[in-house]
Symmetry: C2
């Protein structure tokens, strides 16, 4: 099976003129216009058994808004491309669109078009058009040695939510509601993303859609720097701590490799981090130095390299 | 099974503020920005058996460019959202992207982003961003009584190409190559669309992706006028005439209901049509009068109402 990385390399090779656009999840075009797209696919990202149509609709827009948040931009318009199967009833579709419309309204996004086609599997591809709110564009190539690494919110909740959704062990129930909801109905950090680019002079920023470790690895790679995150500084929710303790799961592996938290991760100068202290969601989790690669300083003092091959599924199964 | 029309009505009802955008295939936003999206789906729009990856790639971009052409706009940027299955080899993907890149280059479109995900069926959703080239925006609500109806190129070729692709009767071979190629590798009428809005004061314009009849019905509906097209004026290719004669198929039904011709259909004033005479592809095929609905004046003098229920498959099988 071909990896996403291989495909990206292929596209970059075939479109050398597009290189500058293809290193972030969002393209920044002329006149501060920004553009992003993402798909939710049945059986890959959701099942009809476990997800209400409203949840799928919300999430299809929210994952795109999270990309817009990752450069501190303001979302404006959405296109909804829908491939539906025979299974979809009118009522199901109506509730799917309710979710799409609710999320769009919440973040002041105007739906301006789309497409409907037939397929065996349901596929919802959303495109968002927005405006950059600052010259400080949050590209992941902006990190510099001497920067501090920060993160917003908590990590691992969504990954554990997905795990609990699949397991449904009765003894996990007390802690499941928040975690499963976080997984199904993510909250894009639109306002916080805008605040971060507004109150800093230079920031590298990403949303943690593929996990905290992925963010640190990507920023280190694109900025040609070394990042060291401290395990004990990674913010975890109480629900996650309770649930992982009871199940003897390492919460930090979930936080690092789980993904779909849709929180923001970035780096700023030591001077700029002072301006972010007013935002209680922002927490310092590490530092940027000369060198390359992303590393974790474990609570026992040992420093290990972060590696996406250590992904979620391998250790939870 | 829910119809596309029912879904469109649903979306319009749930997003009353979006109504003005949702009556054409392309949304026209602030600063002349235009936006459109369309998907090609395995087994719905192509099969791996009958289509080369380069053809699928080309077509995925071309069908979107045809929507851009339908308002005479200039395409600028593209996003490619790809859902791929395990069947896709690296070589197949490379050739798919070659087709995508070739079509983009040909029409000076810059690929600026996209997304890759896993699915059982291959789904390629392309979004194009462009600029309107004129205040004369080609909306399908622009037709007025007294206008003449025109069309570019020939009709029915693609539908017969698809039919021949499925049949592969050896006695059809002499005429298949042009027709099948027209179906697989459509040519978006970008330049002609721009010329039409440039050389007219007011035009209603559509691309014939769902057939000539659909264009006439949609323009009549959105403009609240009656359209009468003349059967004998519908432009047909020699290959289509030869092939349908040999197979005793009514060529006009193919032309009206077949779809996927990606030619342009529109209405302009009698004064403006003089300015379009320099374009040899443009042919007058009917007239706009007061009333409602789209009609065909058959060669035998009988006038019949055009109705999308008379779609391609029903009469070819």
């Amino acid at each position: 099976m071909i990896s996403e990385q291989q495909i990206l390399e292929l596209i970059r090779k075939l479109t050398p003129n597009s290189k500058k656009y293809l290193h972030d999840d969002v393209a920044i075009l002329e006149n501060n216009l920004v553009l992003t797209t993402d798909s939710l696919i049945e059986n890959t990202h959701f099942t009809l058994k476990d997800y209400k149509p409203e949840e799928i609709g919300w999430k299809s827009v929210a994952v795109n808004l999270s990309d817009v948040a990752s450069i501190g931009a303001k979302p404006l318009y959405a296109l909804i491309s829908l491939s539906i199967s025979k299974k979809c009833s009118y009522k199901w579709l109506k509730n799917l669109y309710r979710g799409i419309v609710n999320c769009s309204k919440k973040y002041k996004v105007q739906i301006v078009g789309g497409n409907v086609a037939r397929s065996k599997e349901i596929n919802i591809t959303v495109t968002i058009i927005g405006k950059a709110t600052s010259k400080n564009n949050g590209l992941r190539s902006n990190a510099k040695p001497g920067d501090v690494v920060f993160a917003t919110g908590t990590f691992g909740d969504s990954a554990l939510g997905l795990y609990l959704l699949n397991k449904k062990n009765s003894y996990l129930i007390p802690y499941t509601s928040y975690l499963i909801n976080t997984h199904k109905v993510p909250i894009p950090q639109i306002k916080l993303g805008q605040d971060i680019v507004r109150f800093t002079k230079r920031v590298s920023l990403m949303d943690a859609s593929d996990g905290l470790a992925d963010c640190l690895i990507q920023i280190a790679k694109e900025s040609k720097v070394k990042i060291i995150a401290k395990e004990k500084e990674i913010p975890l929710s109480k629900d996650l701590l309770n649930s992982t303790k009871q199940n003897k799961i390492n919460p930090y592996k979930l936080a690092l490799y789980g993904g779909e938290d849709y929180q923001l991760v970035g780096t700023v100068s030591k001077k700029d981090i002072k301006n972010l202290k007013k935002f209680k969601e922002v927490k310092i989790i590490g530092e940027v130095v000369s060198g390359k690669g992303a590393f974790l300083k474990q609570s026992n003092g040992k420093i290990v390299k972060l590696d996406m091959k250590k992904a979620f599924k391998h250790f939870l199964k």
